[in-house]
Symmetry: C2
């Protein structure tokens, strides 16, 4: 079961084209926005192309703390990852993620100063799937805690899992 | 156009059965989760039923700063509202939002100590719709700022609007 939920988490990220990303603004309020996923390296790193002038990019430059949220509504499956976002503005990284058609968003092309690349790196997470609840932390491996409901949510057991 | 976007924002909230809500945890990271909307009073107050023992409810008890995010993917329409969440545990409020079928989530019924009601009150917001960008603040009225894109997003004009 615990190996299965880790596989399910991987599959959810792999199969998602977008997610809701969150920043924390200068007044301490969370701010959310849908972002299209450019690429992911397992559960660890998730990459996005976006505008450097966007509200949230500016917030992450000041405060890199972030979350990304993936969901599959028909399975009552929601995954929240918390971690940090790094804003890449170097031409090598920008070139790596540039796609045909990006000119419509960044008219000056791959070197457009308003085009940048974000890398979210996961540190912790929690998910709900079909009434089950899990939390986890990411070190070299993933440490997964399962919960049971007995008038309130109670941590049940923690298992180290090598899937990453 | 500005009256239209305010109407569109209202309609988006009214027609949505759920949204992605965000809290800020004790380490300053944003945390997201889908929540089903119980009720809304215009754009101002949005109500939810949930577990008192849930991770995010516990976070809002310590730090009420929150956001709720609504989207309509087929219209490229995303709305982020920031504000505060108040956790209601009194029986009068719990009774008001109790629905048939809630027993499956709160087996002890309407007085179940793990059943509570959240009220999100909006203070600011931003939205994207079909390539247009807006920010706004909520006082007695709504003050809406439109943006234009000229190599980066630039505020264009602010208009006070009485729709609320």
């Amino acid at each position: 079961m615990n190996e299965q939920i880790v596989k399910d988490i991987m599959n959810l990220i792999e199969s998602s084209s977008d997610c809701v990303s969150c920043s924390v603004d200068e007044n301490g309020f969370p701010n959310a926005k849908v972002m299209f996923k450019a690429e992911n390296e397992g559960i660890r790193n998730i990459w996005f192309s976006t505008n450097l002038s966007a509200i949230r990019t500016q917030q992450w430059l000041k405060n890199p703390k972030a979350s990304v949220y993936f969901r599959k509504s028909d399975e009552f499956f929601g995954l929240n990852l918390t971690g940090r976002i790094r804003v890449h503005t170097d031409n090598e990284t920008k070139q790596r993620f540039w796609k045909q058609g990006d000119e419509q968003y960044y008219p000056l092309g791959v070197t457009d100063p308003d085009y940048c690349v974000l890398c979210f790196t996961s540190e912790n997470g929690n998910c709900y799937k079909a009434g089950e609840k899990y939390t986890f932390s990411l070190g070299n491996n993933i440490n997964l805690t399962t919960y049971k409901y007995d008038n309130k949510w109670i941590p049940e057991q923690t298992i180290e899992n090598k899937y990453l």
